[in-house]
Structure formats: C-alpha cells, structure tokens
Symmetry: C2
Subunit: 617 residues, 2 copies
C-alpha cells in the first residue's frame, strides 16, 4: 500500500492548517489526498491531536471547525478530538465559579454541529446539567449534536452502527469484563501528561488489551502545557493483534489519518528509549529519559509563556548547574534574543563562577550583565545592625548563628530580577531551584525560590548533571555548557564553610546528592518508609563506605528538612511536572501543619506502655 | 432534672482533662459525676470534640485513650470522636506517599482497642486495604476492634443492637429514603469548616431531617485549624422533634455528655447571630458574622503557630487598615509580648500614617521600631539606574511607566521582615493582604504579599472596616484602633497620584471598595457572569450615580485584573478560609494559563459568522 504518499500529503496539509504555508494550496492538496485515500476510504478516520488553550473557547472552536471541515472534505468517516478540547483541559473548578463558561462552550458546540455533514466529529466539552458540571463528549454529525457521553459514567458508548465503542474512562482495564470483535474499534480519549515511565506503561496496557480482546484501539491524547501540566500527545492506534499501527508525534499538534480496519497508519518516533526504562531500582543512568525530559520542559516553558503573553525571561547566572541548564532550555524555547542573564556576584562568589557565567552567556549569545550585590548587601546589613538590637531588647531570642546574611544575598538577587521584570515588557524572572533542593527546602524564600516560572523544579540534581551533558551533545550547537560548570561540586556560595574557609558546598550542608536523590526516588516510586531505607542498601553505599550512624544522620536530616520544606513548596511558582511523581502542590498535598509526623514509627510494646499511662484510675 | 449539676461537674473534669488543674482531683469528680448521671444512665454518651494534630498519631492516640478511659469510668455507653481523629484531618494524600503512616495509626488503634471494656468508642482512622486508603471509622469495644466502616461507602451502619445508626457520609439527605424510629439515633461524623452561612445551613438541615424522620441526630465535628482550614466544633444533638437539645462550644475542645433518649443536653452559645444571616443580596451589614469571623481567624493563627512551633510574629505597620487588623488579631492570639510591629516609612509615607502606626503599637503594647527604607530604596535605585540601560541596549522594550519604584519599596519592607524572622527564634513575618486585594492582584510579589501566614486573606475590605469597629467595641481593651485609621481611605502609599499630587488611593487605582466587594460577592455567592452584573443594580449604584460607561469600565478592570491575579494567588502563603467561598488555591483552582477567557461572552450570530470563516472550500 502506498501509504507513504498519504502521509506526505497529509503532513503538508497539516502544516498549512497549522498556519505555515499558503491556505489556497489546501484545496488542491485536499483533492489529491482524497484520491490517495480512496482505496481505503471505508473506516478512514482522523485523530486531531491539538494543543488547545484553556478557557479560550473561540480559539478552540475555530480550530476544531477548521479540522472538521478539512476532514469532511477528505470524505473521512470520523474525526476525533482530545478530551475537553472545546473548553481546554484542565479547567479546574473554574466553571463552578463561572458557570457562564459552560453555557458559552455549549453555544459554540451547537453552532459547530450545524456545519457537520456526513462526518462524525467527537468533541469534548463541559456539560452542565441541573447545576452539575460534566467532562463530556459530544457526537456531532449531520448538522446536529447526536448525543453526549459523560466521563463520570465510565461506561462505553457505541456510534456509527456499533463500529466504534467510545471510552472516556481513564482506566481501560475497567472494560476487561466486556467482549468485542475485530470489526469494532475502541476509542479512548484521555489527557495524559508526560511522565517518567508513562510511555511504556501506556503501550503495554493498550497493546495487551487490544490483543486480549481481539479489538483495535484508538487512543487520543492532547499536546501542550497548562501551568504545571505538560501533555505529550503520541496518540495511537493498535490493531486487533495488539501491534502498534500508528502513533502521532509527541509534543506537536498533528492531524493523523488512520484506518484501523485496513492497517493504515504511520508510527512517528518517540522521545523515550523504551528498552532502557527501568523502574525497579534506583540508577544514575538517566539517558533513556533525557530527550523526553527536555521536550516536556521545553513545551512547559513554551506554552506557559506563549499562552500567557510572556515573551522574555531574565535569570541570575551563578555559574552553577541549575541556572545554567535553565538558561539553555530558555534559549531553546524563547530564542537567545529573549533571554537575559545577570551575574550578581558577592564577595563570596569565586572568580570561576563569574567567568563560567560569562562564558555560558557568551556561548549562548544571550543578553548579559554583571551587577554586584555588594552595595545592597552593605546597606541592608547596616539597616539590620540598627534594627536587630532594637528587636533584641524586646525579644531576647536572637539566634547565635543565623541564615540572615545568606538570605540577604539571595533576596537582593531576586529583587534585581523582579526589577527587570517590572521595567521591561512581557518579561518574567526564572526560579532556578531543582527538585533535590525543593525536598530539602534548600532555597531562599523571596530569593532563588522566587520567580514567574520554575522550569527544573521536578528534576533532581543527579539527573540535571546528565541533562547538562545531554544538552552539550544533542543540541545543534555542541558544548555550550562549559565543562567546568558540569565538573564543579554544587554550592550556593552564600556562606563560607568554617572547616575549609571556602564557599560552603551543598553536599556538605545536606548530604551527597546521589544519596539524597535515591531517598527521593524510593519515597516517590517505592513509597518506602524511614525504616525500609535503613534496612536496604543504597547505590551510594555500594561505592562508598557509609557508617550506619552516618546513614541514620542523613535520613534524619532528610525527613526533618522535608517537613519544614512543605511551606516553601506551597509558595513555589508554577513549574513543569516531569518525573514519575512530584512534590508539586497541585499533585501532592501534605498539610504544612504536619511537622509532628514521626517518620521513624513506634513499636507495639512502646505504644502499649504509652497508652497505659493515659488510663485514668 | 438537675442537669445543670451534670454540666458543672463535666466542665470541671473537662478542664482537668485538657491540662488545667490537678489530675488527682479527677477520680473524685468522676465518681460524683457518675452518681449524678445514674438516673439517666442508659443511653448516656459522650461527644469528644477534640483538636487533634495532623499526622501526630501518638499525641492523638494518647488523647483519645484518656477520654475513652474517663468515659468508661463514668459508665457511659458510647464515646464518639470526630472523623479521622486518630490520624488528624485533613491529611491530604500524604498517606499515599508515606503509606507506613496508615500502618502506624492501625497499630495505635489496635492497642487502644485492647483497653476498652464495656464502652463503645467510635474512632476515625485511615484504613489501608489492598493498597487503597479509606477514611474509616473503627468501632472499639470489649478489648477489640469490633468493626470498621468506610466513609466512601456512604451507607449506614448499626451498632449497639441497632440503637445507633452511624453515618459517615457528608450529605445527610442521602438517607432521605430510609426510615427510622425514635429509639434509634443517627450519628453523623463530619469535619466542617467555619464558613459564612454554614451554621444556619447546618442547623436547618439537621433539625428538619430529625423532625421529618422522627429520629434523634448526633452530629460530631472537630475543632482546630490545619493550614487554611479552621474547623468550628459546635457538635450537637437534635431530638426526634428536630429541637436542638445540646450543642458544644465553638472553637474549643469539649467533652460533652448527652442523652438523646432522655433529653439531656446543654446548648452552649454560638458566635453567629442566626436571624441576621442573609445570603440573598449583598449588604454591608456584616455585624451578624463578625464574632465568628474573629474566632475563626484567631483559631487559624493559634493552630498554625502552635502546631508548627512558631511563637512570634513580626509585621509591617503602615498605619493602614490591613496591617492594623492583623496586629490586633495577632496580639489576641499570641500575646502582645510575641508581636513586633515595624513602621517602614518612605518619602511618600505621610506623617499621619507614621503616627497612626506608632499609636496603634503603643495602644497594643507590642514591640515597635521605625526603620526608614530610604537608604535601601536609594541604593536599589542606583543599581537599577546602571542595570536598566544595559538591559535596554539588548531589549528595546522598556515601559514608559512602570511599577518598579513602587515595588522596590514593598520588597524592601518584606526583606526587613524576613530578616527579623531569620534572626530571631520561632518568628514569622505576616502577609497582611486582604481578599479584595487578592482578587485584584493589588499586592507586590516578594513584598506585602509575602509572609509566613496571611490572616485576613479571605476578608474583603468593606468587611475589614466593620471588623475594625467590632474589635474596638468588643475587646476587653476598647478602642485600641485609632479612629483615624478607620476613617482614612486605604492606599498603599507607594506612588503619588498625578492628579492630586498626594499618595495614590487604592479606590482611585481600582474602583470603590463597595462596588468591588459586591462583584466578589456576586461571583462567589451567585456565580453571576459579567453580563448578569451589567444588567442588575449594585448597592453602590443606589447611593451613587454611576454611568453605564463607568460601570462597564470597573467590571472590565475587575475581570482583567482577576485573570492576572491568578499567578499571585498561586504563591500566596497559607491563610484562613472564613468566607462562604474563597479564592484560596487549595479550594478554588483556576489555571493561571487561562488569561484568554472572554468573560463577556459571544452572541450566537457572531459565533456562526466566526465559524463560517473557518470552513475550507
């Protein structure tokens, strides 16, 4: 079958539909494509893997209309849009506060329906019935809304004479008890975020279901990002043997023609290397997941900026790993002309840090300035030298050793960045914190934690090292990140280590990152407890000699710091969720007021003793 | 019946149980109380309205044990604890990340059970079954866990030979189809937050249900606050005629003995004036709700500080309403010795503001210092005078008029407060933003928006004025708030109004607060749209002449600003939810990336035209 020609034509058409090229060429292309499809026409359908804008009903509706119209011209049987494609997803509980939005999307839906002819279009929208709101799907055909299906029903609905079974439920295994036949296709609509491990899981679940039930499956996903959520696309079709027949691109809009009955499809490449994925033990081999990580974050930045009318980013360049990786990612999304890096040295900042920051900016070709924070720190210190004794006369509880001086530096830097953001159009400052730091609360409130967006807040430090190397090898311009930045041990350069007389290194203040990142991994992936971790061997322990005492001390520090980091997590700017699990406040909610949790647990005999003392005689 | 004596004794005992007085007196008291209860003993039960600590299983378990033991000594039939009282509520999805916590609470539960004899104790805990977690209730008696009930089942369970029907479901109307008789009691466990209007709603629902089904109802609620949630207690009993028989205190722990079969109970007073409650139209008469508002916020502060080991608060005193009300509330909870106010004038700050701030601090007797922000602002301005031209050579998009200078002031003030917090033990800075400002994004990031806790973030400005007057009249020390603070028109004093040459007033930058607060009220309570509001009369319009053009302009500004305030809302510190609805990020979630929502809506004919243009020919 000459299906290559079909995809060549449809890619051209898709590109025009997406606004590149000349719309007047579309009519000829459309006729050519229709002719090419003729032999397989019965059962040919289109997946419209779109990137919609939450709440922008007009924008979404117009795009849906355009794609329906194109598919109709091709004579396709059906066109399927992602879940909630008319309202955009996720909309949160916005419609409960502003129910007129549901009326609006219904008005647009009904008008779209009027323009449908022989094609069946599946369009997701917010349905309102008796004051309740539903994630629903409308079946549009023949000039009207034929029917609507609610996701909450999690049932299966048949359309086009039972040829298509529509499933809105998240979980395909809900259908395990039903039976299907080859001439029926299951259509699953889902909004699936790009997560570490999700691609393989999805593939296994869909493929084995198709095989087991001897029925083809069409899975439709959206692309694009909304705040913390970055959706990965990769809509796909499996035939009744469970073989992958077609898969759309990841992180890109696509109009993909498939015919599950005639085995017509094309498999676009995946950013994940599936055979390398391993969820069973912690490993520093992140290679398999770096392209996906990169693309997920880039899409996150692109859509947060693009959909919110932000064009420019400024960030502090410390010469450290975090700000470096952020700068590269920003350049790749926004273009070097829209990124401004500021080196803000203090007296603690090393010469190397300054020159590394400058070198990076020069390699990337971004705007760059060096501004000392000395005068601000001095002025602030002078103010505090007067203020603190006044407070001390009232409160006799001044710390012997405080973080005040460290924080003055971090906060001054944030003030500079927010100043630039206030003074220049459509510009936000970037929070460069990483995931390891987020767990440890190792960032300054109103300092490096602060910003309009936090690109790498869900990437651990050890993975960031791997990502930095990957960026040096895989971008068009090789080795933009100076080797010295990748080789140096991370440190905030806010304080001097009393032992060495040099700037304090993060690992000396916390614990080795390899160990720290494994603790995070074990909590998120294995839900292990303190005692589970005490009793099992860490990767770090295989390569280094770690005393039981040392391990206990690190774990105690981890859980203590994690408890106190919850507040900081609650005021983190929006970031991109990338990892299998995250501590993003919208996904993981633990009350700040839970600092009394005893992560070590208590033995039964001790419990009994403690309770016995409470018995009143 | 001499029930007064029963309550006198049980109040004394309760006070000792709560740690006041001598534990050795308890035994005698217990015997006296047991004797007093003798005539009504069959059917006497205790409601233990506790304030537990989320995740502090040991603390919670010991308290539960103590109360069970006391109730057992009294010969009571049953003791009822609030929902999830062993784990604490709300725990979020903490147990999914740390499942060992569920094992822990089960261990403690089983040990508690072993100490029960003839009494039946209803204890809420987190149940784990096949990897799923449930909000469950355990029935403990005779040395063991007799049974567990899951909230998600939302069914009804009978204990003690069908005398008690236990309902865990939120919604009592779920039971409307069932039938009961007078000899059966419905026990409803619920965690209900203190909200404007909730008390009357609760009363009506429970009372009419009891009457309709001719069955007594026991409703058990917790007290105490967790992060944003402040639970109000007021546990209660209705007899089978729907008459309120007993009601525990609000916002206080209580051990309350009731006998729904013998009409034994006591009604403690409510902080709400029910007959004044009116949800139908917007009104500036907040009087009915001020004591509840005050107590809700005080409990919110008390528990956020107390449960997290925070003792002290520092805040900026601007001489304005927001910081003033915050200061009074903090003094009432923490004591004046734990509150430090700092006046941080700039060149824009008026003499009156400075003297008002000082007067307030002196009236309250809190710590006070005045620190100019001039040097910091000057230093920062100098830095920006050098930095911005450098950025401008790269980015030719500098604003003609910016908020940079305004924000430097607000951020410097926050730096001072965070500095004090870093330098002194157990001290956090207070974010003094109010609800009207939160909707308008009228606060500076890393400035006045920033802090460890935001006491009044769910109180609108017009309500704050009423609260200020109420505080002046209802606290032991009258009129601590200088009249001049209540009388002045609010303004941030960050910029000069070009028209008047005086500091810009908030209402001139935004719109009249009376109008603004009604817009908020209509959205939250009536879910009205832009067009609904255009087409109806505001309270403000009855008293002032407002042109259609002016009203349109205010509403446009409201919706535009609200869209851009979503980001600020996402990084707000924890606050206390008090109002009927809030924009707290944990309760109301609208993606930041929804700035394209068209709040005005589109007419059908326009929709049709717009869609028609998308049809491909």
């Amino acid at each position: 079958m000459n299906t290559e020609f079909i995809y060549e034509l449809s890619e051209k058409a898709d590109s025009i539909l997406q606004g590149n090229g000349n719309l007047s060429d579309l009519s000829a292309l459309s006729m050519e494509l229709k002719a090419a499809l003729k032999p397989y026409n019965s059962g040919c359908i289109a997946i419209a893997q779109l990137n919609q804008i939450v709440g922008d009903i007009e924008y979404n509706a117009k795009k849906i209309m355009k794609y329906i119209s194109f598919a109709e011209n091709l004579g396709l049987e059906m066109i399927i849009f992602p879940e909630l494609s008319l309202m955009g997803y996720p909309i949160g509980n916005t419609v409960e506060r502003h129910p007129f939005l549901a009326d609006e999307n219904k008005k647009w839906l009904e008008e779209i329906a009027k323009f449908t002819k022989t094609i069946t279009a599946l369009v997701g929208f917010v349905e309102c019935k008796n004051g309740e709101f539903y994630n629903s799907l409308a079946i549009l055909t023949n000039g009207k809304v034929l029917n609507t299906i609610r996701k909450s029903d999690s049932a299966i609905y048949s359309v086009n004479e039972a040829k298509y079974n529509i499933l809105l439920s998240e979980n395909i295994t809900d259908l395990d008890s039903l039976s299907f036949d080859k001439s029926q296709v299951i259509v699953q609509l889902s909004n699936s975020m790009s997560r570490n491990g999700s691609e393989n899981k999805k593939h296994r679940a869909l493929s084995s279901f198709a095989k087991k039930h001897n029925t083809p499956i069409i899975y439709v996903n959206q692309v694009g990002a909304v705040d913390n959520c970055s959706f990965d696309g990769g809509s796909r079709v499996y035939n009744s043997y469970g073989t992958l027949l077609a898969r759309a691109k990841f992180f890109e809009e696509q109009f993909l023609i498939v015919n599950p009955f005639n085995n017509i499809g094309k498999i676009y490449s995946s950013p994940v290397l599936p055979e390398k994925e391993n969820n069973e033990t912690f490993s520093l081999d992140y290679e398999y997941d770096l392209e996906r990580t990169y693309q997920t974050i880039c899409q996150g930045i692109r859509d947060y900026f693009g959909k919110n009318g932000i064009k420019r980013a400024c960030l502090g360049l410390s010469g450290g790993l975090d700000s470096t990786v952020c700068a590269v990612l920003l350049v790749d999304v926004l273009g070097k002309e829209n990124v401004f890096g500021i080196s803000m040295p203090s007296k603690i900042t090393s010469k190397e840090s300054k020159s590394d920051a400058e070198q990076l900016a020069s390699n990337l070709g971004i705007g760059f300035a060096e501004v000392s924070i000395k005068d601000m720190v001095d002025t602030n210190t002078k103010v505090f030298d007067n203020l603190f004794p006044e407070v001390e006369t009232y409160w006799n509880c001044r710390y012997k050793k405080s973080y005040t001086q460290d924080n003055i530096q971090a906060r001054t830097r944030a003030m500079y960045l927010w100043g630039v953001s206030n003074e220049f159009e459509s510009c936000i400052p970037i929070a460069t914190s990483d995931k390891s730091e987020a767990y440890m609360g190792y960032a300054t409130i109103n300092g490096d934690m602060s910003g309009g967006f936090a690109p790498i807040a869900d990437v651990t430090k050890t993975k960031l090292f791997a990502l930095a190397r990957w960026l040096n090898n895989n971008r068009k311009e090789k080795n933009v990140i100076p080797e010295s930045i990748i080789l140096k041990r991370p440190g905030a350069e806010l304080a001097i280590d009393e032992k060495t007389g040099k700037p304090l290194k993060a690992e000396d203040a916390l614990m080795p990152y390899e160990f720290l990142d494994e603790v995070i991994w074990r909590i998120e992936n294995k839900h292990e407890s303190y005692n589970d971790m005490i009793n099992s061997e860490f990767l770090y322990e295989r390569e280094h000699s770690v005393s039981k005492e040392q391990k206990t001390q690190w774990l105690d520090k981890f859980f203590r710091r994690m408890s106190f980091a919850l507040y900081k997590g609650s005021i983190m700017p929006p970031s991109v969720i990338v990892d299998t699990q995250s501590i993003n406040k919208y996904e993981y909610y633990q009350p700040i007021t839970s600092s009394h949790i005893n992560y070590n647990g208590t033995q039964k005999s001790v419990i009994r003793e403690k309770l016995e003392k409470m018995i009143l005689r």
